[in-house]
Amino acid sequence: MARRQIKTALNTRLSTFQKIYLLLIAGFILGPFIPLIIQSFAFRWAWPDMLPSTWWLEQREKSLLPLAWDYVLSPYSRVWEATINTVFIGSVVTVICLAICLPAARVLAREKFRGKAAFEFFLSMPLIVPEAAIGIALLMIFISLGLAGSYLGIIIVHLIPTIPYMIRMLTAVYQGLGRDFEEQAMILGASRWQVMRLVTLPMLLPGVVAGALFTFLVSTNIFLLTFFMGQGKIITLPTLLFSKIAGGTLDASAAGITLVVTIPGIILLLITERFIKEEAFGKGFGN
């Protein structure tokens, strides 16, 4: 019901210009997918044709090898293996990242200490330093440690670019939380553990969910670091996709794989959106 109210409110409040503007933005985001989808069903699509001259289904019977979606969904493409790897690595990275960042964010949001500004700067270093530099440096170390080509190695390097995002997001949530709620719970007689379980964690949930979603998405999209550490032994969706399009051509099966790559993120987004928009959290805390 609340959602419908928001919708009507939006409709009445937006001017025609604002509506057109929103449509344009939606077009920029969704537009590129249209040729991609068409391409995934094409057999031959050459410039300047508006649509493919030959469709995949027309060639399906004639070809000896699986084409387009037949190829993508066949074991030859290794799409299934890459998807499992991607989701597994993404999930483990998200959990470890949360465990590291929750306590850190609490301190950053609430305490003042010497060198805090410098510390915050160093936290964002991985976002500034090129991935290739980090990747090559770490690869040398990981090879000697025997971590290269292992899941553990990939998970560790994925933590490097995800921790800065997660810390930032959780710090913001912690700042919004305020001490009042926890102090109130303590005054009402709650032990430390009860405060954490009954008050802090449920109230942080929207931020935790958003941070986890973001971490997962970043992790599933990292190509270079995965490529270095995976050593070709462990493939994920981005590395698989790269090997497909590295030749410079985008054929139907590459387009299909590209579409598959977007699926985990979309599914996750749909699940988490429910969480974040929950009635109790939709409106502000306290006042």
């Binding site: 102090e183 109130q184 719970a185 005054i187 008050v199 449920p202 109230m203 109790a280 959290f281 306290g286």
Partner: protein, 350 residues
Amino acid sequence: MTKVQLKGVRKDFGSFTAISQIDLDIESGELVALLGPSGCGKTTTLRMIAGLEVPTYGHILFDDDDVSEVPVQDRNVGMVFQRYALFPHMTVEKNVMFGLKVRGTPSGEIKQRLEDILDVVQLEQFRHRFPAQLSGGQMQRVAIARTLITNPSVLMMDEPLANLDTKLRGEMRRFIRELQQRLGITTIFVTHDQVEAMELADRVAVIFDGVLAQYDTPEALYQRPNSVEIADFMGANNIFDAQVSNGVAKTAFGDLQLDTDTKPVRDGTGRVLLRGEAIDLLLGEGEASQNVITGKVTAREFFGATVNYTVDCKGETIIVNEQSRRMVDVGQDVWLTIQPQRIWVIQDAA
């Protein structure tokens, strides 16, 4: 029913001293306001009584037991935060039951006490709502119910009326007052607003810069402040330098006869405080006999029920406040008069 005492309490945060030294006795069942400008240490004092801060020196006693080191969970106090701090992910019912749940009270008893307290604060029909679906006054009632259900020995409130609009303010004031009287619970609240302190409290402790400046009834603070700072903070605007001799105050606008029974005075310098509503404003000269000050109205402010006149008297500006039964025009010559017993003199301690 708990008596609260602060004995030589001091609180330092690193090199910053929030409270230099406070001694305060709060009687059992009394409603006391801690009043002061922001940053004066009143909130720190409240937090120390609650157990959220530990005093650097001194002791806090509940019924003569030293509780300074007792952790907040075991102190059995109640606190209503300024922004209520209702848990947004719990319904009204769950919020109210929280204190009993975490203490492991049997569920039968929780149910019973929940019904009782919801009845007291008249929130039965809102029990399944979330805090975000309540108005400010309802949220405050939930916060009060959540605190009272645990039977705290002391109830504390941070700026209880600050977040409410004028109409609700009166309603909540009566509600809090009546509830406090009925339960006889010792209540301490913090405010920076002297009106809020006067309208609620039995006694008001004025705190300036970490020191207790005056601890008295609202009426005494208003009529008989013991320093110019307190008078100023309590909203007084007519404070003038004077030379006191033989029960007469000589001021720039004339001599004022004092009533030495109301306030014993010493000869020497002092400051006279004339409350705006204690001054009569007359349009003819012959009507008043003593303490007559001549002047001219220079400005008028209309507040509905009352009017403020700014009167220029030989270079000094006196504000007169009266019921708006008539309107005196700006520029009119007027005669002000004040009874000797309504004049308050502030003199530095000898």
